[in-house]
């Protein structure tokens, strides 16, 4: 019985949510039989179920509503606003009763009779003031169908662009706990797979196992995607309640508002939907209360008397944006500015320098509310500052734009899910920590001298792009022992807080970055205020996620207002306008200040001295498992343990430029003076009043760049012998050949054969390669024989080169 009751409550509640929107939609277009049928089905089902459970009051309410709706369906009665209001009131009463039943409380005594009586008020005899909530004094006849008002709408019968409820997917109800269990099961499987992959790699290639393993990997990825989507919900579930909200608010405020919903099929994490429910409601309340004018004011401004509130959801990558726009009077810039000055948020001088957009966004500041009269609907103390705070808590943001007299638009950006974030893993004193990528503005590696690292009292400051920025030592924040070597050359992670404040976090190294699955931490650990969660790295090692906002707040790095970020926003706009060439400024090992164009720089690498090989004429360095040419090293042996390298690329080949110190990215604003006497210098220019040599990339790559390996190398078969595999093969490969087994040889493949084998094959009439190099064992050649002694390196290389030229020519002819 209890189970049945729980099912009844759950089912009724779901139908309640759906029918609120349906009802308003039906009011807007009474000819829409489909919606009338949906509502009718709802009250009918409730009636049937409560008869079964012996809830006589529920039964009588739903019965009355069903009767009235049945009249409408049969055409005996036209739906008007009073009828809709009355049916909504009954549905509200049913909802309240359902809540009481679920909580096992007695159902409050309510005046069901008057609700039922309202249904019988015929639309031909309107009773003024008979209804609570209806517009007083006026009972406007049902307005023209919304479709007619929309005019250009391409879906004339659907003023709300919602998915047709009849086409809803088949669903089952599952406890979220079960979903979470399945999810963590799949996560375990992924870890087990990673472990297995690691062991398989160690065991070497095993074709019989690798195939099925690949398949397992693919399936697992699919399952993981599907599971992630199980936590997702269409934003429609949130949108479903909005038509009703808008209708109730506009009735209460004596305004006429139509809602247009778009993008209900966008999916996001269930928990995220709950997080944005209140902010969204708040913005809608504001829009109807303050934004949209009353009907007469709208007509006077030559707008349609019905206001339009449009809500659209869009997904782009890992972010969902929700745009809430109204066609109301827009935000009053002057009043906002005056209020901000009055409350001391900004000074009059600052106000004069601020753009309209910056002033408008002041409405999100704490304690800001322009409503002169606090109405019942909005302005109850919780303002837009709380909305912004709640959104920022989950890594979202909000902005507002507005045109006077035309309307206002709020844009919300929220991450797709709470639990998977992009993160950076950093290392300090042997510990690893993760930082959410969204905070990371830039990573800077430089000596403390270049950063102008100073201590002001207990606070450390660095200079970054000409600004002094506070710097926190992660090791100190966490109370870990400092490493003296790393302290001299720290890696700085520049973090931009949601409030716009920038600060540097000094760490000892960057370990990696990627998507992190964040799990909550035990409350006792959360109390420390330094961590936001934990995550597992690929190798299964647990890592703590730093709570950047809290760490910054703990160090008093968060400013009270956003004037600073607003200021920098303006600066960046001005920068874009200039568009100067940019270069990376550095000091080379000769002590010369030089620069290289920023487009060439792929990355700044730090290589240990052991990765550098200087045995050949040209030095080489091993980076990421590749051997790359290295220039810029001094002639004397290196004294330090690590070398900073600029990784340059011309698009095809890469080389590394060793530098003593990387300074910063700068703009080339001054004139470039050519330096014909130094071939490696493109020009000399002034940067901050100092002469700087600009490296000539063309000359650099011409001299030191290694041509990329040809994509289509000539192929060659070798004799079957240990000597050929170990001694001959490297020589042939170095000459630019790919060695293939005899079974894959084609007509153009060069064959290298020992002369005795060749002669036997020729004598037996076996097929021989068209191109062939014959090797002999004796240094002295018998006359008239086209063979090469197998240790005659020069002749061998010449023959290989000739054969490859011939192959190229043949290809050219064929082409």
């Amino acid at each position: 019985m209890d189970d049945l009751l729980a099912d009844f409550i759950a089912e009724t509640r779901e139908m309640l949510e759906a029918s609120g929107g349906e009802l308003v939609a039906w009011e807007a277009d009474p000819t829409d039989r489909a919606r009338l049928d949906t509502i009718f089905r709802f009250v009918h089902t409730v009636k049937g179920n409560c008869g079964f459970f012996d809830f006589p009051r529920l039964a009588s309410l739903s019965h009355a509503a069903e009767d009235a709706l049945a009249d409408c369906r049969a055409g005996r009665r036209d739906p008007d606003q009073q009828l809709v209001t009355a049916v909504l009131a009954i549905i509200d009463r049913i909802a309240a009763m359902i809540d009481a039943i679920e909580a096992n409380e007695p159902i409050d005594e309510g005046d069901d009779e008057s609700l039922i009586a309202m249904l019988d008020v015929s639309h031909e005899t309107p009773q003024t003031g008979g209804l609570e909530g209806a517009c007083e004094g006026s009972n406007p006849p049902l307005h023209a169908p919304a479709a007619a008002l929309l005019g250009s709408n391409d879906e004339p019968n659907a003023p709300q662009r919602r998915a047709d409820p009849a086409a809803a997917q088949r669903t089952i109800r599952l406890p979220v706990e079960l979903l979470d269990r399945v999810m963590s099961g799949v996560s375990d499987m992924v870890l087990a797979r990673n472990d297995l992959a690691h062991r398989l790699r160690q065991a070497g290639n095993q074709p019989t196992i690798d195939g099925p393993f690949e398949r397992l990997t693919t399936i697992l990825t699919d399952v993981r995607d599907a599971i992630t989507r199980m936590r997702m919900q269409r934003i429609e579930t949130l949108f479903g309640a909005l038509p009703r909200l808008v209708r109730d608010l506009s009735t209460e405020l004596g305004k006429q508002v139509m809602i247009d919903l778009d993008g209900g099929d966008v999916e996001l994490d269930r928990e995220m939907i709950e997080t944005i429910r209140d902010p969204l409601t708040h913005i809608i309340r504001n829009a109807i209360d303050h934004g949209i004018e009353g009907p007469s004011a709208r007509l006077a401004a030559s707008k349609r008397e019905i206001g339009l509130l449009a809500i659209a959801a869009r997904q782009s990558g890992n972010t969902i944006s929700i745009l809430i726009s109204d066609d109301g009077r827009g935000l009053a810039e002057e009043r906002i500015a005056a209020k901000a000055v009055a409350t001391g948020l900004i000074t009059a001088a600052e106000r004069a320098a601020m753009s309209r957009e910056r002033i408008l966004n002041l409405i999100f500041e704490p304690g800001f509310s322009t409503a002169e009269t606090v109405s019942n609907v909005s302005g109850r103390g919780v303002g837009l500052d709380v909305v912004r705070q709640n959104l920022e808590k989950v890594g979202g943001s909000i902005r507002v734009t507005s045109t006077p007299g035309k309307g206002t638009a709020f844009t919300l950006h929220i991450p797709l899910t709470l639990s998977i974030i992009a993160g950076l893993t950093v290392e300090v004193a042997g510990h690893r920590f993760a930082i959410p990528q969204s905070y990371v503005e830039e990573i800077v590696q430089a000596s403390s001298q270049a950063l102008d690292f100073t201590r002001m009292g207990e606070t450390a400051l660095v200079t970054f792009r000409g600004n002094r920025v506070p710097c926190l030592m992660l090791g100190e924040v966490l109370g870990l022992p400092a490493c003296p070597v790393a302290a001299k050359e720290p890696t700085l992670v520049m973090l931009r807080l949601a409030s716009g404040d920038l600060f540097a976090l000094a760490v000892e190294g960057i370990h990696g970055h990627g998507d992190l699955v964040v799990k909550p931490l035990a409350p006792a650990v959360m109390k420390s205020g330094l961590y936001a969660g934990s995550t597992l790295l690929d190798d299964g090692q647990p890592v703590l996620l730093l709570d950047v906002a809290n760490i910054a707040a703990g160090a008093d790095l968060v400013s009270d207002t956003r004037t600073r970020v607003l200021g920098t926003l303006g600066d960046s706009a001005a920068e874009v306008a200039k568009q100067a060439d940019r270069a990376m400024l550095f000091t080379d090992f000769a002590g010369r200040r030089s620069a290289v164009r920023l487009e060439l720089v792929q990355r700044i690498e730090t290589a240990p001295i052991t990765a550098i090989d200087r045995s050949a004429a040209r030095p080489r360095v091993v980076i990421d498992g590749l051997i790359l040419p290295l220039v810029g090293l001094p002639d004397t042996p290196l004294t330090q343990n690590r070398v900073r390298l600029l990784r340059l690329s011309d698009g095809a080949c890469e080389l590394l430029f060793a530098v003593r110190e990387v300074e910063d990215a700068v703009e080339l604003t001054e004139d470039l003076h050519a330096v014909p006497e130094d071939p490696l210098a493109e020009a000399i220019t002034l940067i901050a009043g100092q002469p700087v040599t600009l490296v000539d990339a063309h000359e650099l790559f011409a001299r030191h760049g290694e041509p990329p390996l040809a994509a289509d190398r000539p192929r060659c078969t070798l004799p079957e012998s240990e000597w050929a595999r170990t001694i001959l093969a490297p020589l042939v490969t170095a000459a630019g050949y790919d060695i293939v087994p005899a079974s894959e040889a084609g007509t153009e493949t060069l064959g290298i054969l020992f002369d005795d084998v060749y002669e036997v094959a020729e004598a037996l009439g076996r097929p021989l390669p068209q191109q062939v190099i014959r090797l002999r064992d004796q240094p002295d050649a018998p006359t008239g024989c086209e063979t090469i002694y197998r240790y005659d390196r020069e002749s061998l290389l010449a023959a290989l080169a000739a054969a490859s030229r011939a192959a190229l020519q043949a290809k050219g002819v064929a082409a």
Partner: protein
């Protein structure tokens, strides 16, 4: 409590019992990643498959071992995994002794168990393997500082 399964472990040299219903598993403890600036009784986090467990040093969580050399009691290489308030914990104890059934309800003894033990113990329970203190998991996981705070409030 009579007839209920209990996991008996030794914490700070004393026999303690945990209800087997609270215990999810017993694991070999692997690498523990320390948490800087966390209370001393939290040894760190460790990974159990895809889950991160908070590792609790039970002796310190009760209030012992502060200012004393930690090597006074040995530590079992296994840990007891429990779940409380939606989070999973691994409990480090001296030694995990037995799984047994309770033979009495939890009761008090005259004179109490001492302030540290009284905070985390529901009472004394007779088991098939002898008497043990029945541990109140929530109180244990709240850490030693909570008791002091409560006393301050009372004063």
């Amino acid at each position: 409590m009579i007839g209920q399964l209990l996991v008996v472990a030794r914490i700070a040299g004393r026999a303690c019992a945990l209800s087997a219903l609270d215990v999810k598993s017993v694991i070999e403890i692997g690498t523990v990643t320390p948490i800087p600036r966390a209370p001393a009784w939290i040894a760190g986090i460790t990974a159990l498959r895809s889950q991160a467990l908070t590792v609790i040093d039970c002796r310190r969580a009760i209030g012992f071992g502060i200012g004393l050399p930690g090597s006074e009691w040995p530590t079992d290489h296994r840990a007891i995994v429990v779940a409380e308030g939606g989070h999973s914990y691994a409990l480090l104890v001296d030694v995990i002794e037995d799984i047994t059934t309770g033979a009495s309800d939890a009761g008090q003894v005259p004179g109490g168990f001492g302030p540290e033990w009284s905070r985390i113990a529901t009472g004394m329970i007779e088991t098939m393997a002898g008497p043990a203190l029945l541990v109140d998991l929530a109180a244990l996981l709240a850490g030693p500082d909570t008791a002091h705070r409560e006393i301050e409030v009372l004063v």
